[in-house]
Amino acid sequence: MDWGALLLSLKLSLVTVVILLPVSIVLGRILAYQKFYGKSIVQAILSLPLVLPPTVLGYYMLVFLGNDSIFNKLFGSPLIFNFSGLIIASIIFNLPFAIQPVQRAFEAIPRDIREAGACCGLTPLKVLWKIELPLSWRGIVSAMMLTFAHTIGEFGVVLMVGGNIPNETKTIAIAIAIAIYDKVQIFDNEAAAIMSMFLLVFSLIIISITYLITDNSNHKHE
């Protein structure tokens, strides 16, 4: 078991969730309640990571954040093959996993309940805090759990943007791949088996909890 890779994956997942939590609440709420010109295109862009192969996403990240990018020219350091670059990649490929469930959770709150908050004298911020968040927290928590699990398991973009630098960019998913490629060839796949089983069980638990929360949410106020 590559503990360094596991710790790095956990750290990356946690940072991604901490950043995406407020982002998904703000964007999810806007997409749920606001009508604006170009909303469909915004939603399409945010959903791109769902359909694009990680290699395409990774390629564009190399183009925009790599050694020859404008970013490097402006700030003097590229955002690839280091942890900061990994965070940016992680945030981008997790956008749909974080935003869409939050958006659905906000959409599920009937309009008159939100309006009743305003009619009770609550400011929009208080309506969010006292009415909307308590009614949508299950959706938000499941979104964040999915984001966490998805980051732990992400392989393609991480490899392209981060490479395989121990304790810097080598996450658990990369470590498994390396273990399989390295050790299967020398007929020793024990490490790969242990780490794969760990990820399988971990993902199963996270997804089960997510379903449990969503189911409870559906039955709660019937």
């Binding site: 008159d112 309006e115 009743a116 305003a118 009619c119 009770c120 004298g121 009415i131 308590p134 019937e222």
Partner: protein, 368 residues
């Protein structure tokens, strides 16, 4: 601008067309009535600040809430409007008491619970403080919604079909409670309903809406019995609407005479219509008097007519009758008589009966 009560003027030509003007004074209940899609709820939402019309003015207790000319539009949370939503819109994650306490934003935390308890008691829900909305009946939910709306110390109370989601027995009880409640409040109350009986029962004034236009405002009886147009009469569920010609005016006797399908009808004096002018006239069923077969009464001298009962239908304690006055012109009069009267006179389809159209009950208006 009205110094007291609420004044509403809304105009809009796209999406939901609106041409609405009405006012409602303190201590007054105004019912916005009209068929589905006539803009009733949109008007209520505009007053609450949940919808912004293109043009108009909304003033409440000397405060301007909306003024399109001067670009004023006060946000919903800053308008003291108590709103009872059609399905009550109670916060499902909060108890009855907490729902009410949400509206007490102006009180310190320590006082919120005690004031919320008082409001809950005011709507007869003591003991149900800790129940969630899903654990309350429809009637109880409605009361919590009313208490929550009042918690805000509103300057106007807006009720959006508050009785539509409960059964008939509960509805009658809630009517009584609403009747009592209105006398304890000194603010204007605007009630949206499509039930004319409800409007008659609870409102001092009705504003009839059709396709976003306020057609007529007045007391429920006035709008029902003195409609200004055929559209108003039809929307007020009046069925006896006909066309006649002005025959004569008699100021001395205070009457006008009409020629209606060769019958001469005497109606209240109305000299604004010229002789020989075509006018519409209507009579509510309650002003059609059945002639008893066994006894002649004074009322029988007023506009007597006879016809064939072609339809009879029992509804509650009344029998609704359709009487064919003129077979060739298919002119039918609709009237209703108490069931005991129908039984005593052995009324049934195929009978020929005589009726009188009470002069005072006939209303004439411009022919359209």
């Amino acid at each position: 601008m009205n110094k007291i009560g609420v004044e509403v003027q809304l105009y809009q030509d796209k999406r939901i067309p609106l041409t609405v003007e009405f006012s409602c004074l303190d201590n007054e209940v105004l019912a916005l009535i009209g068929p589905s899609g006539s803009g009733k709820t949109t008007i209520l939402r505009s007053i609450a600040g949940l919808y912004q019309a293109q043009k108009g003015l909304i003033a409440c207790q000397q405060e301007i809430w909306f003024d399109s000319v001067n670009n004023v539009c006060v946000a919903a949370h800053q308008r003291a409007a108590g709103f009872v939503f059609q399905n009550y819109a109670l916060f499902p994650h909060l108890t009855a008491l907490e729902n009410i306490a949400v509206g007490l934003t102006y009180l310190p935390k320590s006082q919120k619970i005690s004031v919320a308890k008082k409001l809950l008691a005011q709507v007869h829900l003591q003991g149900l403080e800790t129940r969630y909305p899903s654990q309350l009946s429809g009637g109880q939910q409605q009361r919590v919604a009313v208490a929550r709306a009042l918690a805000r110390q509103p300057k106007v109370l807006l009720l959006d079909e508050p009785f539509s989601a409960v059964d008939q027995v509960t509805r009658k009880r809630l009517y009584r409670e609403m009747f009592e409640l209105r006398h304890t409040l000194s603010i204007p109350i605007i009630l949206v309903t499509h039930d004319l009986n409800e409007a008659h029962l609870l409102a001092d004034k009705v504003c009839l809406l059709h396709k976003g236009i306020s057609l007529q405002t007045g007391t429920p009886t006035e709008v029902a019995t003195k409609p200004i147009s055929t559209t108003v009469a039809r929307l007020m569920d009046q069925q006896n609407i006909f066309t006649a010609e002005v025959l004569a005016h008699n100021l001395e006797k205070n009457i006008t005479q009409l020629n209606w399908q060769k019958h001469i009808l005497t109606v209240p004096y109305q000299n604004k219509y010229a002789l020989k002018q075509q006018v519409n006239w209507m009579i509510p069923p309650a002003n059609i008097l059945l002639h008893r077969k066994d006894r002649v009464s004074n009322g029988e001298r007023e506009n007597p007519l006879s016809g064939l009962i072609i339809e009879s239908m029992l509804l509650g304690g009344y029998m609704n009758l359709v009487i064919q006055i003129n077979e060739n012109l298919k002119t039918n009069l609709h009237m209703s008589v108490p069931l005991h009267v129908a039984k005593r006179n052995q009324l049934q389809c195929g009978d020929i009966i005589s009726v009188s159209l009470l002069t005072e009950g006939i209303h004439i208006f411009t022919h359209t």
